[in-house]
């Protein structure tokens, strides 16, 4: 790509679009937002196509001492590349999902979304720790507005909760970052990833980062902001929240906590495992009894994110790769599920499960696509989530078989609540006349769900496309963690094997 600053351009395009949207009416604002996100998607494809697999660890780097105290340093590795792809892929779909659903203050809405995109790409591309923090934290402002202005009934409470919860999580991380930079003498993330912090300091630093990422992730018991935020946010807000914002926590673990504090990560492995096990079982059970579709999917997100955390803290390649794949797969699938909910919400203006039923009769195409995403959420082989969940659980099995056992029940419970949801909405009697009269998908809705369906299948059938760019980076991380990795309880070794046939025969002769 020569010296073309593609990452800066990817930041600039939505930023310019956002500023333009602020001054535009509804119609042109929608067009500008769609154009900006599509340009970014195209740039993302170029980025992926030009990413040199097996090349340098950090590619497309840009560096400028624009600010005193921290640098404008951008650059991506395979992990960041995949998450940037996820963001730019979901963004046009979000804009499309809001095309008709949002009617008031469209310009500001589109501006907030485009700003969100800038900040998400910035988080994944930042190579300077303070630049990362600025992007990470700034995301609160547009999301606060999106939930608060365009959300549902109880939006103000949800917006406050989202803002203050995540802010409290992050500020301690800032102090930890200041300490690290003071100790290591650099703000450059690749250097910090190789710097060995004193073991006793790692404990505190790890906890400070954990406070932030656990809230973002979200891990049980600090997940309570998520169902509120999801339920109150507009459809596209939920998509972006589930699709990308939740991935910031996982990205934080994989970029900061694990490589920078390997010893502390190993020491606190039990904490993460314990919280994840609780999360998988408890939130799955909570999801089972929800009457609100969005809440159900929100709780299922918490359960899926727990699989991500056990994968990350399995300290082996399978676990890390699995965690990344679950993040990508969940980004697509939960986004698609929120869209599915949004589609029927737009028609009937309720998210209550009991108001629907028998939609397979009047919305067959919808039923098929919803089925695909339900199965993907369950982790059916051939869909994206299967790959990730299998790898993550295989990884944690090597570290601790009990954790693997408990977390695997999440898949069974996941099947339970998702299929139960599907049965109640799509099958059965058509209880309400208005629900029975709903028209099937429009072309716009096909265009929203189609690409996600294709990506879900692609990721399930040929995951190598997604794993290949990340492989080298995950191996580097695994090597970094190797020294600290706790010894697993399931050290499988090949046994003696059965006696040969002769011995067998001899034995038999006795």
């Amino acid at each position: 790509m020569g010296g073309f600053p593609i990452l800066s351009v990817m930041l600039a395009v939505p930023l310019v679009g956002a500023i333009a949207c602020l001054f535009l009416d509804a119609k042109p604002a929608r067009m500008v937002a769609l154009a900006a996100t599509l340009i970014n998607l195209a740039l993302g494809v170029v980025l992926w196509a030009n990413y040199d697999i097996g090349g340098a660890q950090w590619q497309f780097t840009e560096y400028s001492e624009l600010f005193d105290g921290f640098a404008y340093a951008l650059g991506i590795d395979g992990i960041a590349l995949m998450l940037i792809m996820l963001s730019v892929f979901l963004m046009p779909i979000c804009i499309g999902a809001s095309w008709e659903a949002i009617t008031k203050r469209v310009g500001e809405y589109m501006a907030a979304f485009l700003l969100m995109e800038v900040l998400m790409i910035g988080v994944f591309a930042a190579q300077d720790i303070f630049l990362f923090y600025i992007f990470f934290e700034a995301g609160l402002i547009p999301m606060y507005l999106i939930i608060g202005v365009w959300g549902g009934q109880n939006r103000i409470y949800a917006a406050y909760k989202f803002f203050l919860y995540t802010l409290l999580g992050s500020v301690l991380m800032l102090i930890a970052m200041l300490w690290m930079v003071n100790a290591a003498g650099t703000t450059y993330i690749p250097y910090l990833m190789e710097y060995d912090f004193p073991v006793e300091a790692q404990t505190w630093l790890w906890l400070a980062f954990f406070a932030s990422f656990a809230v973002k992730m979200p891990m049980w018991p600090v997940h309570t902001w998520l169902p509120d935020a999801h339920v109150q946010a507009p459809t596209a807000g939920s998509v972006i929240l589930a699709g990308v914002l939740l991935k910031l926590g996982g990205y934080g673990f994989i970029r900061f906590s694990l490589p920078m504090f390997p010893d502390a990560s190993a020491d606190f492995g039990w904490l993460v495992w314990g919280l994840s096990m609780v999360a998988v079982v408890v939130t799955s059970l909570i999801a089972l009894v929800q009457a609100d579709m969005k809440k159900l999917i929100a709780y299922s997100s918490v359960a899926h994110m727990a699989i991500v955390t056990v994968g990350l803290f399995a300290f082996n390649v399978q676990g890390l790769e699995g965690a990344m794949m679950v993040m990508l797969g969940h980004g697509l699938v939960s986004g698609a599920l929120f869209l599915c909910v949004g589609i029927i919400y737009d028609r009937l203006h309720t998210r209550e499960i009991s108001r629907y039923g028998g939609l397979a009769i009047n919305m067959p195409a919808y039923a098929v696509l919803f089925m695909l995403f339900t199965m993907a959420a369950v982790g059916l082989p051939g869909t994206s989530n299967f790959v990730g969940e299998f790898l993550a659980l295989a990884g944690i099995y090597q570290a601790n078989s009990w954790v693997a056992f408990v977390c695997t029940t999440g898949i069974i419970l996941g099947a339970a609540y998702m299929l139960y949801l599907y049965r109640r909405i799509i099958f059965g009697e058509q209880k309400n006349a208005d629900a029975a009269a709903m028209p099937d998908l429009t072309i716009r809705e096909y265009l929203l769900l189609g690409p996600i369906a294709a990506a879900v299948l692609w990721m399930g059938i040929y995951p190598e496309s997604f794993l290949a760019p990340m492989r080298a980076d995950i191996e580097v991380l695994d090597a970094r963690l190797a020294a600290a990795a706790p010894e697993g309880d399931a050290q499988l070794s090949i046994g003696e094997g059965a006696p040969t046939e002769e011995e067998h025969a001899e034995g038999g002769a006795h």
Partner: protein, 487 residues
């Protein structure tokens, strides 16, 4: 030292005081109809003083060349940087005032002159290198400020604010004088350099008492908790341009003065005052945050916000390092911009009759009725809350960086965690403006000078402000360094 050299170092103060006296005579003979002319003239004078001070800041003036009148007065880069902020903030007050008072028919010629004398007092304060100079500057500023608070003679609240400010200010001055006399008694000198020598080998009990009372008196002036009680009442009662002035310039002056007393006179005994400053800092952050939550009036809310911000500034001082002093100056500069911006936004809130609207509930739905004002105010609020990418974040950032570098991790962690409480009421204003149904109270016409000032402030605290980090940090570092080579 020759008188001519000393006088040359005092050039900005001489300019301000002579023109202040001349303008006073003009006002006395031509009455209130010359108010407009005097305002402009005063602004020009402040601009001139600003230009006179600027070179010493840019070159980082320090050392014995900056000492005037045998060590009573110091025109170094630290004082210079504070003076730049003081003159700029006073100038802003002069710009917004005529429209405000003009609408009430109460634009008096005294206003710009009092602002000039207050600025003069503050500029003496920040340059003071002797307890006596300190007191002269402080009182010159305070006496002007008492009158300014009560300048709307027909308004009960204004008179009440002035009286409250006067009584409590007088009490604080008394405490300060008591501390100064104890210090003098036990150190044998009023000169900061002399005090530094006297306390070099440990504080005696008398000196410790002196230090404590001096700090208490100054804490009152910067409205740090637990000496903050007067702030919300005075800020609410005083006319808005005056409140804006109180919240910006005198804060800069008193904090710079506090830093100089602590770091120069008692620099060798930093352990003695550090705990006092840490206590005041944390208490201010918490009280500023909790007190603001229930407020219905924007000006009272901003008063608590200023208490909260003083807490963060004091964290920079609490480090007792030059990096901390530099961080403090950076924070102050950003704080002045944010404060001026917020109060200008308050000034722009007017109902159909042109009357000032101060209740938070009247802001409801401002984003649909007055989008530009709402977006600017939102940026200011997020900036005050210290949320990146707005520039207010950088102020907190440098202060906490200094605290971490000085190994005050616990202070930094508690301080920043408490800042989340403060974020609650800032985002509450955003909530009222953006989430609530419009009440359409704020319909009054706005004045161009106000808009220009608000636009400048909004631009400075926008992410573009980060481009200033380099130069600003440089100036602050030089200013802090000039403290180090004191004597």
């Amino acid at each position: 030292m020759e008188y001519s050299t000393s006088l040359a170092l005092l050039a900005p103060e001489i300019l301000v005081s002579v023109s202040g006296l001349v303008l006073l005579l003009v006002a006395a003979w031509s009455g209130d109809k010359s108010a407009r002319f005097i305002s402009i003239a005063a602004a020009v004078v402040l601009g001139g003083a600003f230009a006179l001070v600027a070179p010493s800041v840019c070159t980082g003036a320090a050392g014995p060349d900056t000492v005037a009148f045998g060590g009573q007065f110091r025109a170094d880069a630290f004082a210079g940087l504070a003076k730049l902020m003081i003159f700029a903030a006073s100038g802003a007050a002069l710009v917004v005032a005529p429209r405000f008072f003009g609408r009430a028919g109460a634009m008096r010629a005294e206003f710009p002159i009092l602002v000039l004398f207050a600025a003069l007092g503050m500029s003496i304060m920040v340059s003071a290198a002797d307890l006596i100079t300190l007191y002269i500057g402080l009182e010159l500023n305070s006496l002007s400020a008492y009158v300014l608070a009560a300048i709307l003679r027909d308004d009960e609240r204004s008179a009440e604010a002035g009286l409250k400010y006067f009584v409590l200010g007088g009490l604080a001055s008394g405490i300060l004088l008591f501390g100064m006399s104890l210090t003098y008694g036990f150190a044998g000198t009023t000169n900061f350099g002399g005090i530094a020598i006297a306390v070099a080998d440990g504080l005696s009990t008398g000196q410790l008492f002196g230090l404590t009372f001096v700090l208490a008196g100054l804490a009152f002036k910067i409205s740090a908790a637990p000496f903050h009680m007067w702030t919300p009442d005075v800020y609410e009662g005083a006319p808005t341009p005056v409140t804006m002035f109180f919240a910006s310039a005198p804060k800069v002056a008193a904090i710079a003065l506090l830093a100089r007393v602590s770091l120069e006179a008692f620099g060798s005994q930093s352990l003695a005052w550090q705990q006092i400053v840490i206590f005041a800092a944390l208490l201010s952050i918490v009280i500023g945050a909790l007190g603001a939550i229930g407020q219905q009036n924007v000006k009272r809310l901003l008063a608590y916000s200023s208490i909260n911000n003083v807490g963060f500034i004091l964290i920079g001082l609490a480090t007792g390092t030059l990096a901390g002093a530099s961080a403090m100056m950076v924070y102050l500069a950003i704080y002045v911009v944010m404060t001026i911006g917020s109060f200008v936004a308050v000034l722009l809130m007017r109902d159909g009759n042109g009357d000032q609207v101060e209740s938070i509930s009247d802001l409801a739905g401002l984003s649909t009725t007055r989008p530009a004002l709402a977006w600017c105010l939102m940026a200011l609020m997020f900036s005050l809350a210290g949320i990146p990418p707005l520039f207010g974040f950088w102020g907190k950032f440098v202060v906490f960086q200094a605290a971490v570098e000085a190994d005050l991790i616990a202070l930094a962690a508690i301080g920043i965690a408490a800042s989340v409480i403060g974020a609650f009421y800032y985002i509450k204003i955003v909530k009222v403006m953006f989430f609530d149904e419009a009440v359409n109270t704020v319909t009054g016409k706005s004045d161009t000078p106000h808009w220009v000032l608000l636009a400048i402030c909004a631009l400075l605290i926008s992410p573009l402000g980060y481009l200033l980090i380099g130069p600003l940090g440089n100036l602050a570092d030089m200013a802090a360094a000039s403290l180090a080579v004191a004597f």
